[in-house]
């Protein structure tokens, strides 16, 4: 345990005779379960290269964690089995371009667990979401590789790479770039606006609720991600506060701006169904470690994530802003936790005893 200056043996004192039965690995397993449909859909949609990228990323995240534990002379297996490193790798893989080269996944996975997690002290100690730190690091370091979007080419369809071809693509790069690359809606609109063409006079890539469009490996299907999120809500792994606030934070400014000037601002539905909005709202912003403790704090945090996402997408240099927005709000979490505390029984919000 990283915070163990003082040790308390549970058996020597009361209150240790009953437990609700949860555990860290159970929580992580449930989150992975909720991620599985969107992931499998991504595999189907983008074929074998995506599968290979996914396992490379997950394995390198696990390897990074094990390597750090080895340096600290701690037993790696119990920590790896808690599932947090695998989940970090998984989330990162879902946010990568589906046919990204192997080294992108490998560097990202290592960076996530080594730099963004273990260097801060391991599980529970990191200030920033490790998957998002890695994604942003990759985006800044390798902007070209990180924006190679491909058009959906479902497994089994004509021209889709088989297992070995998939491996070759991941190891050697995409064979014929022009044939398969495509643009995302956010990227397209950013480019068009920068060229001075307004959105009413172009035909942007179609939106898809189901997810059949160009985009990151596991981010395109708003439907499946939201369904996974609802499962997490139902399992009480997450509460509605952060996802609701984040989606609201994106939708409200988008609605207003689009209403005012549809030529310059994308609609709310375009924002909600594009990029990592759904994945961010249900799976990334809701990360326990880096989000506030209280319900009210979580609402503020979620709203902040949403608003910043919209601001970065609309006015920033990158077409997509969820990772940056979540990281910025992660930095705000300690401040929110300091300012927003639950009211103690028998006291007012300032901590003074109530008056009789």
């Amino acid at each position: 345990m990283s915070t163990a200056k003082l040790t308390v043996t549970p058996l020597s004192s009361p209150h240790a005779h009953a437990h609700a039965g949860g555990s860290i690995s159970l929580i992580m397993a449930k989150v992975m379960l909720a991620l599985a449909p969107a992931t499998l859909y991504g595999f189907w949609l983008y074929g074998w290269p995506a599968v290979h990228l996914w396992w490379i990323t997950v394995l390198s995240a696990l390897f990074g964690e094990a390597f750090c534990l080895h340096l600290m002379r701690r037993r790696a297996m119990p920590v790896l089995l808690d599932g947090s490193a695998a989940l970090t790798g998984w989330l990162l893989a879902l946010s990568l371009p589906p046919w990204a080269p192997w080294w992108l996944g490998a560097i990202g996975g290592l960076f996530a667990t080594v730099v963004a997690k273990q260097m801060f002290g391991g599980l529970g100690q990191n200030l920033f979401n490790p998957a998002m730190v890695a994604r942003v690091a990759l985006l800044i370091s390798f902007p070209v590789a990180m924006t190679q979007w491909i058009a959906p080419l479902p497994i089994g369809s004509a021209g889709a790479p088989d297992f070995v071809q998939g491996l070759q693509i991941v190891l050697n790069g995409i064979p014929n770039v022009d044939a398969v690359t495509s643009a995302t809606l956010l990227g397209f609109s950013k480019t068009e606006l920068s060229r001075g063409i307004d959105l009413l006079n172009t035909t942007p890539p179609a939106l898809s609720f189901v997810g059949e469009r160009a985009g990151s490996l596991g981010e395109t299907s708003a439907f499946l991600i939201a369904a996974g999120g609802l499962v997490l809500l139902w399992l009480r792994i997450i509460s509605w506060h952060i996802p609701f606030a984040m989606l609201t934070g994106i939708a409200i400014p988008a609605l207003i701006a689009h209403e005012v000037d549809p030529a310059r601002y994308l609609s709310a539905s375009a924002h909600l169904l594009s990029g990592a909005a759904m994945l961010g709202a249900f799976f990334i912003a809701t990360d326990y470690v880096t989000s506030p403790n209280t319900r009210i704090g979580q609402l503020i945090f979620g709203l902040g994530c949403g608003l910043l996402t919209w601001l970065i997408r609309t006015y920033g240099g990158y077409p997509e802003g969820v990772a940056f927005a979540v990281l910025l709000m992660n930095a705000m979490t300690p401040v929110i936790d300091r300012l927003v505390k639950p009211r103690i029984y028998g006291r007012d919000r300032k901590g003074r005893p109530l008056e009789t």
Partner: protein
């Protein structure tokens, strides 16, 4: 502000507490049994908050059941009576029913098997004044049977002074596994109601509310039936949610008010007592019988016949377990409920007035996990019935920053254990808080000691200074006296000379 406050409360959706699996049945439904009288009873002198009682019997002395054998000593102490008739075998240390396994002084009574009560003259308790009722309750050694074991007479006396208007009877029994109050309410509702009426008389309360968790429909029905003739006594089902049995939480659930952090329910005109205590009050006044036995829930996976047993104070846990039969070797023995009860070092410890349950838990029931790192899931924040931040507090305590934990509200913690119960990382949160509270108390004591030592030192310095001054003064005085004497002698000599001159 009012509207904002309502909005915040709505978002926080103040769902305090937890819903543990209750494990109360089938033990709760099994008929009450009586423990066969053990050969020896080990009656500890410390069965209440406050100073241990002072024994007033000697080894070899014969006693009757209900005879006073140890007097209350100090304000928050309670009298102790012989739980059966027989001979005082010895007064010596036995293992206390406490995880420490430390010794506690006890009066050991060799039972003669007759179980003969002392003679009592019956009085109609409803002819007694409030003070007389309270005195008799004190004489009967009644303490709060909900677990805190605070002397009941003292509590009633304070409530009378505070002019309370409502008496709340705690029939919540929110601890998993326990059903002793449930059983008592089902079996002895009329007696409990009589006890309640006596307590109302003793405190001047105009109405009484009996709060019972809605997972005890039989008890609610029995108490409703018994309370039917008395309009001033209401039976109120409350939601089953741990820790509903906490005085402040039951109070808030029944009245919708909150007890200020620095106050008590009596400041709001309400006194809270356990239903078992009401029954003990009835026994004390209606029958003249002091508190020498109680109902104990015997439960847990290792027990063959779980249920509720009437046990004399001083019977060993070992005998209670033998009577209820063990079907497996228990991995853990607990006195009280699993949430707030304490681990027993072994089974040769006596049942005391505050023993609500004896649990023999199997390894599967108690599966102890190694604590993992906090993942800040904030389950503990949501579970805390007081509105604290257990994860933040424990992190501060682990880092040795006790005062930071106090700033976060450590002193408001009621040690209910909800946080540790829900923690997926199995961090013993409540143990951290208990540890920190103990540490703070030790620091406060050390500070008092320091101050006392400083005061003594400064007094000593003052005294030395004073003595030195007195010495100096005395010396000066003596010197002055000597000088005066010399002067007088000289004067006398001069006078003499003059005299002789004149006479010459």
């Amino acid at each position: 502000m009012g509207l904002m406050e309502k909005f915040l409360a709505l978002i926080e959706a103040t769902h305090w507490g937890v819903h543990p699996h209750d494990h109360k049945r089938p033990a709760a439904d099994a008929p009450l049994r009586c423990l066969p009288l053990p050969e020896r009873l080990f009656v500890p002198l410390q069965q209440h908050i406050g100073a241990a009682a002072r024994p007033i019997v000697l080894a070899g002395q014969k006693v009757k059941k209900g005879q006073l054998i140890a007097e209350a000593q100090g304000a928050t102490s309670a009298a102790i009576h012989a739980p059966t008739s027989g001979t005082v075998a010895a007064i010596r240390d036995v293992t206390a029913p406490h995880p420490s396994g430390l010794p506690v002084a006890a009066i050991i009574i060799e039972a003669d098997g007759e179980d003969a009560w002392i003679e009592t003259e019956p009085v109609d308790p409803f002819t007694l004044s409030a003070q007389e009722i309270t005195q008799r309750i004190a004489a009967a050694g009644v303490v709060g049977l909900g677990g805190a074991t605070f002397p009941s007479a003292l509590k009633l006396g304070l409530a009378l002074k505070a002019k309370i208007h409502t008496l709340i009877l705690n029939g919540g029994e929110c601890e998993p596994y326990l059903s002793c109050d449930d059983r008592l309410m089902r079996d002895a509702a009329p007696e409990i109601v009589t006890g309640i009426r006596l307590m109302m008389r003793a405190t001047g309360a105009r109405r009484a509310l009996v709060g019972i968790e809605d997972n005890k429909p039989e008890a609610i029905a029995a108490m409703r039936e018994a309370a039917r003739p008395w309009h001033e006594i209401g039976v109120r089902p409350v939601p089953s949610r741990y820790p509903m049995g906490s005085e402040k939480h039951l109070f808030s659930t029944l009245t919708g008010q909150e007890v200020p952090a620095d106050g008590r329910t009596t400041d709001l005109g309400v006194l809270v007592h356990n239903v078992g205590t009401a029954y003990a009050v009835y026994e004390a006044l209606g029958k003249g019988r002091p508190l020498v036995e109680r109902i104990v829930t015997v439960n847990g996976g290792a027990i063959a016949f779980p249920g509720n047993i009437r046990v004399p104070v001083g019977a060993l846990v070992e005998e209670v377990l033998a009577f209820a039969r063990l079907k497996a070797a228990p991995a853990r023995l607990v006195m009280g409920g699993p949430m707030m009860g304490s681990l027993l070092p072994h089974a040769r410890v006596p049942v005391v007035k505050g023993t609500s349950g004896v649990l023999a838990l199997t390894a599967a029931e108690t599966a102890a996990h190694e604590a993992g790192p906090c993942i800040r899931c904030s389950s503990c924040v949501r579970a805390c019935p007081v509105g604290l931040l257990p994860l933040e507090m424990s992190a501060r305590i682990a880092a040795g920053a006790l005062s930071a934990a106090v700033d976060l509200g450590l002193k408001d913690c009621i040690a209910c254990g909800c946080c540790a119960y829900v923690c997926p990382s199995h961090i013993p949160l409540v143990q951290y808080f208990n540890h920190a509270k103990g540490e703070l108390a030790a620091q406060a004591r050390a500070q008092l000691r320091n101050e006392a030592a400083k005061r003594l030192a400064s007094l000593r310095a003052e005294r030395l200074e004073r003595e030195a001054k007195e010495k100096a003064e005395a010396a000066a005085r003596r010197k002055a006296e000597r000088m005066a004497q010399k002067a007088a002698e000289a004067a006398a000599a001069v006078g003499k000379a003059a005299e002789s001159e004149t006479t010459a």
